[in-house]
Point group: C2
Chain length 198, copies 2
Amino acid sequence: MRILIVGANGTIGKAVAAELSERHEIVTAGRSSGSFQVNIADPKSVSELFSAVAKVDAVVCAAGNVHFGPLEEMTAEQFDIGLRDKLMGQVNLVLAGREFVSSGGSFTLIAGTLSQDPVRFGVSASMVNGALESFVRAAAIELRDHRINAVSPSVLQESMGAYGPYFRGFEPVPAKRVALAFSRSVEGAQTGRIYRVE
Amino acid sequence: MRILIVGANGTIGKAVAAELSERHEIVTAGRSSGSFQVNIADPKSVSELFSAVAKVDAVVCAAGNVHFGPLEEMTAEQFDIGLRDKLMGQVNLVLAGREFVSSGGSFTLIAGTLSQDPVRFGVSASMVNGALESFVRAAAIELRDHRINAVSPSVLQESMGAYGPYFRGFEPVPAKRVALAFSRSVEGAQTGRIYRVE
């Protein structure tokens, strides 16, 4: 397979590339790294990405920003960051990518455990991850030529330096395990699934 | 209690008003009806609503638009309708309402069964309802002075004329049963709950 990985230079993206490159051709994209640059929050940038990359058999996304902060201080603009970037950014990849992904190909998006298990300061991430899970379930029943799944990991072992204080008591997961879930989605046959890695 | 119902003139809003007005003082708001007008998608309009309404003990929302249509034709702009209105509109009510809702008071938002059980053409509604459920779970752990819940109904008996073709095989629920779930939220003690009416 020829697989486009968006966010290929992040902790998860690198682990997914390592897992999938053993068996497949990998095309990397990222905001400022990888073979192709893309701002997923901008539908035009996403369209240009696919025009440049051309046909692939799978799209993997391991990118997306949200604002972390106390609900008490959150503004509509701060919620908007996650809605534009992690949520609609990934939806943009699906909307624009359909005509470039081969028949029978797949989309695998990144959600996160906060949809189900919230933490302090994570209200925007919870909202966005919940939206992504329901989007994937819904899109799966309408996409006739493609599969779509999401991977929903707990906090990463590799990110505990930065995120540890938010996730006390959570069992962190190594990016390598998260990459296996992406492999199940890309190389499996399911659609509409949320692969939780906890 | 003094209870603000946003969307009080809709099918659900009217049923909630009927249920709660037996025991409480009801203040009605809506886009073009009710005692106060508000466009929930506009944070400024929501702030003005609360300034005009002043102190309440509970906020109930039974309002919010999303775009229904085939995923194949959906644009980012069409997804945006639901994100602005049903999702952020209700979040705006929480953000602006906190200082006007008395200590121990509550917010009850409206989600919907499509978060879990998608139907054709409902991908935006699924996304928005999933976002709302996760938002409610997350907001509940950070709101110290207030409770927050969501009611997630199946298709309404009263709406089967318009929505029946989308919801074949679903058991429609009468608005009166949905109103009971709002009453459980407003008059109960739970927080972070999704009351499913199916």
